[in-house]
Symmetry: C2
Subunit: 246 residues, 2 copies
Amino acid sequence: MSPYDPSAFPPFAVTVDLVVLTVRSHALCTLIVRRGEQPYQGRWALPGGFVREGEDLGAAAARELVEETGLRAHDPGDPPPLPGNGAHLEQLATYGAPARDPRMRVVSVAHLALAPDLPAPRAGGDANSARWAPVEELLGEAEPLAFDHGQILADGVERARSKIEYSSLATAFCPPEFTVGELRRVYEAVWGVALDPRNFHRKVTGTPGFLVPAGGTTTRQGGRPAQLFRAGGATLLNPPMLRPEV
Amino acid sequence: MSPYDPSAFPPFAVTVDLVVLTVRSHALCTLIVRRGEQPYQGRWALPGGFVREGEDLGAAAARELVEETGLRAHDPGDPPPLPGNGAHLEQLATYGAPARDPRMRVVSVAHLALAPDLPAPRAGGDANSARWAPVEELLGEAEPLAFDHGQILADGVERARSKIEYSSLATAFCPPEFTVGELRRVYEAVWGVALDPRNFHRKVTGTPGFLVPAGGTTTRQGGRPAQLFRAGGATLLNPPMLRPEV
DNA sequence: GATCATAGTCGTCTCCCTGACGATAAACAC
DNA sequence: GTGTTTATCGTCAGGGAGACGACTATGATC
């Protein structure tokens, strides 16, 4: 039988779901929207939507990201035109358990977005409201997310946690110009650990291409003025920044 | 408009494609099948097929793997019942460019399988024939694979190359019992570099839980008899085995 | 059987990175 | 001024990795 015989394969709906992560007040947070309809009406879920005809998967994810946050995404390959002005966006994984949506066969291509701290989210599309929630709360059993979104969120968080180890991706959580201390607080929030400020400073300033001085100082964190940096061209950290054991 | 209105989203076909990697005679090889029909008739492609109704994505990949190679897959989480008797199988990424298949909208969830060296592949399903080909040849520009399979293969190879750095996954390329030298030749083939046998031996035997002695020796590689090992329970290598720079 | 080639295994030495932590600097709050 | 906070520089010890010497145990070759 021909593999292209239309009767030979079942039709699927394809969606993109977004795990949008940011760091707000020392906590790793993700964007969730309240579902306005069945199933899981009234429950919190990850933002997402259907992939349109003629639309690439990454383009659909970028479109959803703009709709929900106003953030423009830039490809991981390209250097961001204005670092910090857009979000990092990458494909995470695909979820297609037959019963994950009770109404039809839906395959969801989850994407992971990392963004600097933002003002309140815009509620868009089919959501009554939207908010940033600490992932710590969501991954607890209190009020699980709709569908398999709890699993998707967990996978996205784990991806982010491991990826900042060996890449410069943590700068995606920072504004265009940032201090070493701000970057350190990103690592601390994502990993949920405390890092030694002196060793961290030595590591990040000593890695060629990771940070480039932006030429000013700031005192927005209090204390002694800190040098401002931009993200350098290096994307891979070698040797990596190792996550502490516990 | 309701997101579940059937007219609100286009139907997709969903397939799984497999990057099956193995090490044959010091080279990293992948399984390819010759296409029997249009498009790309007569060209080599990755094995794959449609996801069936009610079938999970991973199950579809496992089914295709059995059909093409006879290998049973085991989940990355579980320890293999008989190490080396099955293949490691994990989801790789999803490819859904609108024109990747000229005839219809197809989203392909690519999977990566790592297997020990096998006898000649069985040609199955819609393929005239199948063979193991060194990835080095396929990634050159000589005769590109059908569809976007060249990109999928490249992504799969890169995943394998980076993952054996920080996990014990290289043992998935080995038979149930293997020597340190055989494991080293796996790393050398996957990375395409030469490793110092003494430092490699110190590293892998010194990492707790990576290897457990199997209790015998073998001389199948020539030279002094070597101790046989099995894969230990450890899945994460910390500190990782770093890929040499060049 | 002596010699050689091949592979495996054990040690040593040095360098670099890391973690732990002392000390100093430059702002602000009172 | 004094205390507090944060940033930044330095020092020191320990561990892992690269480079490489030395020895061992097999089969192949003469």
